[in-house]
């Protein structure tokens, strides 16, 4: 039953990805100003949205770990696994944002990179979560999870700053397409492609997030078994 459900979800995700690609490349029209390069929006923006949501999951997991670590160690380990999974998969999506963005910028602005508020805060966000992952990989001892949780909470503070950066400051990065000033928005003919791609990338993201969570829970089980065996030896 479990395997069937996983297979069904994977099949739905693949269908959504194929449809998303078809919509983005063959159905949506070229942008009147930018031409074909504008189509990068169909994977650049959903990747950013997925990264933000997964960093929020990491934040919730980090808070949960700190809240449960003394009284409910089992719940704390579950929360910690969500914190790690959210941060790691979030970094993967943020990496996509930071590689596709400069390629779009090179064609649209004539430059690969500029130190404006949106780009800089996004890079800082990525660096914070890469630091989080390095801390988890190389730090040892019982305090590692606590330190990682604190760093995860501080890292998440950058997410609303990234989101608001092109509202608060003048940036090279375009003004918000959605929820921006009056007159902003996307042409109706592009909305289905954008919506399908948002759905497809979220489905893909949730798939690998859950996979990463399961792997971390198994790792915790192996570590606990090894610790028990060492005590009994």
């Amino acid at each position: 039953m479990k395997r069937t459900l996983i297979g069904l979800y994977a099949a739905i995700t693949i269908v959504l990805m194929i449809n998303g690609y078809y919509q983005a490349i063959y159905v949506a029209p070229n942008d009147a100003m930018q031409g074909e390069i504008f189509r990068i929006i169909y994977y650049h923006v959903p990747s950013a949205a997925v990264a933000f949501v997964f960093f929020a999951i990491s934040l919730a997991g980090s808070i949960g770990f700190l809240a449960f670590r003394r009284n409910s160690p089992d719940k704390a380990q579950v929360a910690d696994a969500w914190a790690l999974a959210g941060a790691e998969v979030g970094v993967v999506f943020c990496t996509v944002v930071l590689t596709t963005g400069p390629m779009w910028g090179r064609r649209a602005w004539g430059i690969w990179w500029t130190w404006d508020a949106r780009l800089t805060t996004t890079l800082v966000l990525w660096l914070i979560y890469v630091s989080y992952l390095l801390l988890r990989r190389f730090a040892a001892g019982p305090q590692m999870q606590t330190l990682a949780a604190v760093l995860g909470i501080f890292g998440a503070l950058d997410v609303p700053i990234v989101y608001m950066s092109n509202r608060w400051w003048r940036t090279q990065h375009p003004a918000p397409v959605f929820g921006g000033a009056p007159g902003s928005g996307m042409d109706k003919s592009m909305l289905p492609a954008f919506g399908w791609n948002m759905l497809a990338w979220f489905a893909w993201g949730v798939f690998i997030l859950i996979l990463r969570f399961v792997i971390e829970r198994r790792q915790q089980g192996i570590a606990a078994a090894e610790a028990q065996a060492a005590l009994e030896a």
Binding site: G35, I37, I40, V92, M103
Partner: protein, 43 residues
């Protein structure tokens, strides 16, 4: 097709390929980790 349109097309295709290289590399790494865990738990 003018030169700008050709470059736009190449950049768009390259960005799409890079996106999937990143995503599938990560998925492959998860698969490797999964297999390593399975082998370890069977020992």
């Amino acid at each position: 097709m003018d030169q700008a349109a050709i470059l736009d097309h190449q950049f768009r295709v390259a960005a799409y390929i890079i996106t999937w290289v990143i995503q599938l590399s990560y998925l492959a790494w998860l698969g490797y980790k999964w297999r390593a865990q399975k082998a370890k738990s069977e020992d």
